[in-house]
């Protein structure tokens, strides 16, 4: 059923393109159209980032403090090599594939700054915009995957940040968990018309690009090329998560629960879509889950809403990747802007806390079933070597086969080490 949005088969569509190309010169916009292998690519390296927007209380999820005044209401349960929250039982059952790093110490406790720092490995700096890590992977791996027609960095309900000096063609393609891509449909317009439009557009754009007005005009053209690739690609099927059978959707989203059925688990749907995208060759997918800025009523919210939702989704992804033989190639990373205060506030909430908290990472051949690092008995400081986001991303680089010696160059010619020169965490790379 390989149909383009306009209802033509791709081959037919391209033939149309070719025919009209003969009548109109300068079809530079369309020169990317070439036949692609139809097969699903397996065993390609990829990274799925689970982004916990708002800052998750990792002391209630991955690093419980039973017996401490800061411990809160939850008990730990056994997971491979360590213990995690009692409200994460499904995840505990697949924890042999995952690991928690318990000694993150990241300084930035403001949402904007924390989001930037965790995504890029760099603290905000007025003279340069650092690329978010998804853009780094898009730049390193996406550019080598010639068969990939959809964007090499997709963000599903995420807070992806800017591609910075790597340019707009490595920007995140942002979609919601329903996978409906707005305006991707040419509405049945025939290829001759589209071609005609694009060739005229090419003339106007080239004129402006040649007018010494910086990089932005060229970036505009590059993004249009990507958008056209996408419009005419059957890889767009990867976004259609509803094509999965009900059982698979339930695997990620759960079947019931206190929320009155979790078929509306957007995070689960997002992770399922992420798996489809990775199968299609997308090297980096970010899936966001919000609702973590828990200044008040933290335990009820976690127990009734956030943790059941997340537990089903993470378990769904990890077990599905395992069943498909993909887990050794796909790194999963779980993080937010920061953790939350060990001290419980007067509103039974926890505030922003960056001094000692946890990140989860696994898959991609990394050593699972363990906790790396530790906090003190009240969770207030790191008791072992503290880690920075650059170390997490360097670990991901290692798993993705991107050399950690890679250096990018900022627009101003300044060398920028990948992952801010972080070091892969030894316990994880084994």
């Amino acid at each position: 059923m390989n149909l383009t949005p306009s209802g033509m088969s791709r081959r037919h569509f391209m033939r149309h393109m070719a025919a009209s190309a003969a009548t109109i010169p300068a079809i530079e916009f369309m020169n990317h159209l070439h036949a692609h292998a139809d097969t699903v690519r397996k065993n390609q390296k990829a990274c799925i980032l689970m982004w916990m927007g708002g800052g998750p209380p990792t002391i209630d999820i991955w690093d419980l403090k039973p017996g401490s005044k800061n411990g809160g209401e939850f008990k730990p349960i056994k997971a491979a090599g360590t213990q995690i929250s009692e409200h994460m039982p499904k995840t505990a059952s697949v924890f042999d594939k995952l690991a928690v790093v318990r000694s993150m110490s990241t300084r930035e406790a403001d949402h904007g700054r924390g989001r930037y720092f965790m995504h890029t490995g760099y603290v905000p700096n007025p003279t340069v915009v650092h690329p978010t890590f998804g853009s780094v992977v898009s730049h390193e791996l996406g550019s080598k995957r010639k068969e990939l027609e959809i964007p090499s960095f997709v963000s599903i309900n995420g807070d992806p940040g800017s591609p910075g000096f790597l340019g707009m063609s490595n920007a995140a393609f942002v979609v919601d968990a329903n996978g409906r891509i707005r305006n991707a449909d040419t509405d049945g317009m025939d290829s001759r018309r589209l071609n005609q439009r694009l060739s005229m557009l090419g003339v106007i754009e080239e004129n402006f690009i040649g007018s010494k007005r910086g990089d932005a005009p060229q970036a505009h053209k590059d993004v249009y090329k990507k958008a056209i690739d996408l419009m005419t690609s059957k890889q767009m099927e990867a976004f259609k998560v509803e094509k999965e059978d009900q059982k698979m959707i339930e695997k990620y989203c759960g079947t019931g629960g206190p929320m009155g059925g979790m078929a509306r688990n957007d995070f689960g749907r997002g992770l399922l879509m992420a798996r489809r995208l990775v199968e299609a060759g997308v090297p980096f997918v970010e899936v966001g889950m919000g609702g973590w800025d828990l200044h008040a009523n933290v335990f009820n919210t976690l127990k009734d809403r956030n943790l059941p939702t997340m537990d089903a989704a993470i378990h769904g992804l990890v077990s599905d990747l395992t069943d498909r033989g993909m887990i050794k190639d796909v790194v999963v990373v779980w993080m937010g802007e920061f953790g939350r205060t060990p001290r419980i506030n007067q509103d039974v909430g926890r505030d922003h806390w960056a001094a000692s908290w946890s990140v989860m990472i696994g898959g991609g051949g990394l050593k699972g079933g363990q906790a790396v690092g530790a906090t003190d008995e009240d969770g207030l400081t790191c008791a072992t070597k503290p880690y920075l986001p650059g170390d997490i991303w360097a670990t991901a680089c290692h798993a993705l086969g991107i050399p950690t010696t890679t250096v990018h160059t900022s627009k101003r010619g300044r060398p920028m080490k990948i992952a801010n020169g972080g070091t892969p965490i030894p316990e994880l790379i084994g």
Binding site: T23, I24, Q196, K212, G214, D293
Partner: protein, 586 residues
Amino acid sequence: MSDLKWTSLRSVRLVAASIAMAVSASFVVSADDETKESKPAAKAEAKTDGDSKTETKPSSKKRREDFTTGSSDVLLTFINEQIRQGWTDNEVEPSELASDGEWIRRVYLDIVGHVPPVEDVDKFLADKDKAKRSKVIDKLLDDPAYVRHWTTVWTNLTIGQQTPMRVSRKGMQKFFREAFTKNRPWNEIVIDIVSAEGHFEENGAVNYLLAQMQMPDDGVQATAKTTRLFMGMQVQCTQCHNHPFNDWQQRQFWEFNTFFRQLRKEEHQKYDMKTGRNEFSYAELKRREGVEQFVLYEKRNGTQEAAESKYFGQPVDVMKKDDTGYDINRRAELAKMMTEGEKPMVAMAMVNRMWSQFFGYGFTKPVDDIGPHNPSSHPELMDRLTVEFVKSRYDVKQLIRWICNSEAYNLTSQATKVNEEKDNPSSGTTSLFSHVYLKSMSAEQLYDSLIVATNAHKSGRSSWEQTEQKRQQWMQQFVIAFGTDEGDESTTFNGSIPQALMMMNGELVKDAISAQKGSYLNTILSEAPQDKDRVRKLYLAALSRSPNNKEIQAAQAMLKSNSDKLAAYQDMFWALLNSNEFIFIH
């Protein structure tokens, strides 16, 4: 077109003919406005004198230095000198003056938020008045679209693109609309917003604070946002610890916060016959009585400290009663102090923000982080503009006049080899304003520009509020809300693929290129009989310039190969509206 234009028709014909075999004589359009249209002042004079061979063209430097928009404001000399000093110090030559076509498009987008209508471009290009630029600036400042544009800008800055829960966008817009219509002094606007109390539609100013009260946080977000937005100071980090890079201490944050401790939101409900339930009716911002003088906060080492009401170290008695015997409105006390003196942060923050609105970069990067830790690119200029802005009684229109009449704002956005490298703030250099930096249109500027470029504004179909509602609906497709206590949000209208898809296939552009009765395409197809005029008008509508030779050739080829001419015009207009040149303010 002006007489001026056609004096050079003969040579244009020759050039065109020699370049383009395919271009028939009937299709000659005067070449590229970028090079041929009237350049300001000196060049225009040279031309109107006829083809005098003896006259030597003044150097571009002299032409630039002699240039004036026609404004005689004395402060302009100071502004220009300061900017020139930066060029000299950094050994950078500025670019040439912007052509009239380039400039008028820019100034319309910057002041009234949309591209200029074709007839305004034509009139401006033909106008030989040396003071025409300053006159356009004045005219635009009196245009109703000025009010609309700045209402949009400030509504987005104060409550975000996506309206938070229990906040009235309508109310906030109404407040700004009235303020900008009357050109109310900026200090008064800030005082009204910071001290606001009452019903969210009767006193729209309250919506700013209501938007910062999405979570019960003892006014922390209101404190952080007020200092950042209105005073240009980022202190949100000092909530938890002393700021490593600026002078603010954790204590100061909480001293500031004491002024916001009276904030109280009341949400009122009304029985709804249809649903049979009580539904939200309106929100009200009220004053909490009997609030303590001190705020307790936790230091990093876990000990508790108390902060009392102080404004930059100056103690404030917040325990007083007002005339009616109630506790005084602490925020009113704060607002008064924020706007006192000859160089308050409120004025400096506004100067810096307005400069960045027009130039793409302020004197500091980011624009809302001013202080010794973050040096300004032009400290003396920023200072002087601040002082003058205060002296002008915080006259926002006057501030815009100073900016738009300055030499720097009248330069082209085309860089030179040297200033492209040395003055490129997007890659991290200090801003020298030696050429005008490209800005992307905001989604609202795009929406309004498409309406102007396609004549939809002329039909007079809908009221301000209807149009506003439609635009707001359309805007929602781009907003990504992060759902944090700061109400941060992002947009996919950022030059990425979703924006490109919307431009290529979305309803808005589809409507814009439809040839229905009353549409722009329909009008020019019926009113302009010749293809050359039609093509030229399409270019003017979208890009405020005529097509160049290459573009004329392409247009002609397209018209030739389509039996359906309308389709060719639609596709041409589509290409213009989708181009980089259209979406950038340059």
